[in-house]
């Protein structure tokens, strides 16, 4: 497995001094980092460290109190999520977000329809549009067999896969994944992360993900960034982070983290 840091190129995503407070609690407190194409960056930290808040500011769902987000040379701070998406930033959610009244296939087709600006057509049935492209993605994530099922009845792990297919529909340059393997069995997790690693290698996508399963993190991430109480306390290749005394202290008591 690749544990080497990706070669330094021009940053695709550059985050500078990001800050967000909810009342008196500073959820994200001056976070800065960079991400280059083809890099897999894991954002880890204990519960409440500010990982999801950080994610939500990257794709425009939350407005930061301070700081800037640059994507592909553009300052996208304050942009709406759908505008950020158009630039090539796709995301999955910690609590999966899919369309319950549609089939798995339709969920992916909806993303294609949006990508190709088809959403104002009133007459043509949507079922025949971007069907093959959608099926190809569903094959890729292993959901082709369930393409006709409703998303309201799927298991959590399957929903995570559908979300990945939806995210891939826009040919993203950056994938933001909030706990992509939560709710999956150990083998499924590794398979899914392997899939993501393959996609990264093929397309040069940059990936930022959060994860609680350290096995997944240390096996696939090029860089591991540790967040605690809204601040980055370490950012380095997995091997270095593993031996960082400060990181060890933060995780003290949760012995399962480091085998």
């Amino acid at each position: 497995m690749s544990t080497q840091p990706a070669p330094a190129r021009e940053a695709l995503l550059a985050v500078r001094g990001l800050r967000k407070a909810f009342g008196a609690v500073c959820a994200v407190d001056g976070v800065s980092f960079e991400l280059v194409p083809g890099e897999i960056l894991a954002l880890i930290g204990p519960n409440g460290a500010g990982k999801t808040t950080c994610f939500n500011m990257l794709n425009g769902q939350l407005l930061p109190d301070a700081g800037e987000v640059w994507f592909a040379g553009r300052n996208i701070s304050g942009w709406k999520p759908r505008r950020v998406w158009r630039l090539g930033v796709a995301r999955t959610f910690q609590i999966t977000q899919t369309y319950g009244s549609m089939t798995v296939l339709e969920n992916v087709q909806a993303a294609f329809l949006s990508r190709h600006a088809q959403l104002l057509r009133l007459w043509t049935p949507a079922r025949d549009l971007y069907r093959e492209e959608s099926m190809r993605l569903l094959h890729r994530v292993g959901m082709a067999a369930q393409a006709g099922r409703g998303c309201g009845v799927l298991s959590y792990g399957d929903l995570k896969r559908v979300e990945l297919a939806i995210a891939l529909a826009n040919d993203p340059r950056l994938l933001l994944m909030d706990e992509p393997t939560a709710g999956m069995a150990a083998r499924e997790r590794l398979a899914l992360m392997q899939l993501i690693a393959d996609i990264v290698r093929e397309r040069g996508v940059a990936v930022l993900f959060t994860e609680h399963d350290m096995d997944v993190v240390f096996r696939h991430a090029h860089t591991v960034m540790v967040l605690n109480r809204g601040r980055i306390i370490a950012s380095a290749p997995p091997a270095e982070v593993r031996s960082d005394p400060q990181v060890r202290e933060v995780y003290l008591g949760s012995g399962t983290m480091f085998h």
Binding site: Q61, G100, S101, M102, A110, R115, R121, P125
Partner: protein, 629 residues
């Protein structure tokens, strides 16, 4: 204008405000704590006026007798409130707000019928209050003593409520519950009795308000609807659950009404709703309301996959159309008109479904666009001599453009705020047709709009209606499965996912709202030429409710439900009107039952039954009424 006139206007405004505050405070408390928009609150007020009328006549005609009557009325209505809470409300706290409104509308209908049965249809005037028959001079103007007494009472009640909320343990719990119900439950407070207590208090206030108004206004059957809509406006403007907000909003509405009565008598009714709509647009939580976020929203439960009609269903619809095509040759003329009307209502219900089902926007004012479809052409005929064909084109255009305009801010809101805003918009349109006499002839209506000569034969008009309605429904059905419909449903199912996938949820909803409005307008103009006249009653609040009930009866999660629901509801209403003397009450009972035991309507019931038979809920393929195969 003289100083004396100003004094008069202000004093009149203060009386209206005082009475409005007493009614609205009860509504606001229930709103804030139980999260129920109680449409029956005005009915309790009306009962208060009627009971006070009877009580005053039963007791000795003295000041003490009057006070005893008022107090007894308040207590009697409070007792009734207890019964209603224990039997119906208690089961309503966790259902979506549109079902709460439907259930309380059911109570409204039952109380209306009961009052008719007990006190009859005539207006009942209570005698003037002994000891307060005189007038006192205020700044040079004579003013009835009793009015001053009502004002004093409203201040007393404000003070009492303030003490109750801020100086008693019960009040602390209530305020805590306003902010976070679940937390209050989590720390071990029995919510059930809290809610019961609140509702009884609210009923007491409604009864008291009715009793206090009895010497000022005659008790009549229409006062329930008038007061509830104004009270909703006050509660929304002041902020749901805020007593002080309620007080200030009542002052504002009272003074505005008094000013408008003198200077702009055509728009007194509209003015209140314009203020209400403006507040909802600018600050949805009102003057003093807290934005309580998610708890006011509707939980979206859409786990059933919508699918286009399969072969069997298509055949069934073809058969139904064939049957409908034969109908005019076998029906007697009177029933043909009923059939046309039913078709129009089925279409109207479907236009509503398009926005409420796939769009998730449950409007309480769909009658607004139906009404524009009626009055737009009627006015074009009255002032410019428009004929039927131009009007058939103008109606959907006018209604669609209005929906485009109103929707631009309406669809930003959701849940109860969207419901209240659409209610206000519909009331604005209605009050123009009702009150702006110079323009619309008010209740006298606009008459003599008959179809062109070629369509005057009832059968031809029937086919015209059938063709227009069924092709419009076909178009909208296709739209549900078009890319537009996918985008619309995506926004309803998960706004987060949609926005993170580039879908402009607001744009999809806005267009769906406008399309629904345009088609409601088409339904309106068809109704206009069927009836040959335009009257305000065609678009009053009961029409909005009827449309909502038809769609809910059929079930919002299904494509065919609203059609079936509309047909059954119309048939039921016609049947009951013909054969039962108290059909309002029967409809009321049906509405309550619908909300309590059949929240997903007939189609939900149908798919549950089928699921049980097939062994797996909602998973069986084949022919299905709900369209979710």
């Amino acid at each position: 204008m003289q100083f004396g006139e100003v004094v008069n206007i202000v004093l009149n405004g203060l009386v209206i405000a005082a009475s409005l505050f007493i009614v609205s405070s009860g509504l606001s408390i229930v709103f804030g704590i139980s999260r129920i928009s109680n449409f029956a609150h005005g009915s309790l007020y009306m009962l208060g006026a009627y009971i006070a009328y009877s009580a005053v006549h039963a007791l000795p005609p003295t000041t003490a007798g009057f006070f005893a009557a008022v107090l007894a009325t308040g207590l009697a209505v409070a007792l009734l409130g207890f019964v209603i809470e224990a039997t119906i409300f208690r089961r309503l706290y966790d259902v979506p707000h549109h079902l709460q409104l439907i259930a309380t509308f059911g109570i409204f209908l039952i109380v209306r019928d009961a009052a008719l049965m007990i006190w009859g249809p005539q207006e009942l005037f209570s005698p003037r209050v002994p000891g307060m028959k005189g007038a006192i001079a205020i700044l040079g103007r004579k003013f009835p003593e009793y009015y001053v007494f009502i004002m004093a009472m409203s201040l007393l009640i404000l003070a009492a409520l303030w003490l109750l909320f801020y100086r008693t343990r019960w009040g602390v719990l209530l305020r805590a519950a306003t902010q976070d119900r679940d937390m209050v439950a989590a720390v071990g407070v029995d919510q059930k009795w809290l809610f019961t207590g609140v509702f009884v208090l609210s009923a007491f206030l409604a009864g008291l308000a009715g009793a206090l108004d009895a010497p000022r206004l005659p008790a009549s059957l229409g006062m329930d609807i008038t007061i509830i809509i104004e009270a909703f406006a006050v509660v929304v403007i002041g902020g749901m659950g805020s007593i002080i907000g309620c007080f200030l909003a009542a002052l504002l509405v009272g003074l505005l009404t008094a000013v408008a009565t003198v200077f702009l008598p055509q728009v007194t009714l509209a003015l209140v709703f314009v203020v209400m709509a403006a507040v909802l647009v600018v600050r949805p939580s009102g003057f003093f309301g807290r934005n309580s976020g998610a708890s006011w929203q509707d939980p979206v439960t859409a786990d059933q996959v919508l699918q286009p009609a399969g072969t069997r269903l298509r055949r069934l619809w073809a058969a139904v159309l064939l049957l409908l095509a034969v109908l005019p040759f076998v029906l007697p003329p009177y029933w043909l008109d009923t059939a046309i009307e039913t078709l129009i209502f089925m279409f109207l219900a479907w236009s509503f479904y398009f926005m409420a089902g796939p769009g998730g926007m449950i409007s309480f004012g769909h009658a607004a666009f139906f009404g524009i479809g009626i009055y737009g052409p009627a006015l074009l005929f009255k002032y410019f001599g428009f004929g039927m064909i131009p009007n058939l084109v103008a109606a959907p255009l006018l209604a669609g453009l209005s929906a485009l305009l109103l929707g631009s801010f309406a669809v930003r809101l959701s849940g109860i705020y969207f419901a209240m805003l659409t209610l206000a918009l519909a009331q604005i349109i209605w009050s123009v047709t009702f009150q702006w006499f110079e323009l619309t002839n008010g209740e006298l209506g606009i008459l003599n709009l008959w179809p062109d000569a070629w369509a005057r034969d009832r059968r031809i008009y029937y086919f015209l209606t059938l063709i227009l309605c069924s092709s419009a429904i076909y178009f909208l059905r296709r739209a549900v499965f078009s890319p537009f419909g996918i985008g619309l449903r995506a926004g309803r199912d998960s706004a987060l996912r949609s926005e993170a996938t580039g879908i402009d949820v607001h744009r999809q909803k806005w267009l769906a709202f406008s399309l629904a409005g345009a088609f409601a307008g088409l339904a309106g103009v068809l109704m206009l030429y069927l009836k040959g006249s335009a009257f305000p009653s065609y678009l009053d609040i009961s029409t909005s409710f009827d449309v909502l009930v038809m769609a809910l009866l059929g079930g919002l999660q299904s494509l065919n439900g609203p059609l079936v629901g509309a047909a059954i509801y119309r048939a039921l209403k016609i049947g009951l009107q013909t054969y039962a003397s108290h059909w309002n009450a029967i409809v009321g009972v049906i509405l309550i039952a619908l909300s309590l035991v059949m929240p997903r309507g007939l189609s939900g019931l149908w798919s549950d039954l089928r699921g049980r038979r097939a062994g797996a809920p909602g998973a069986a393929p084949g022919l299905e009424l709900s369209g979710a195969e």
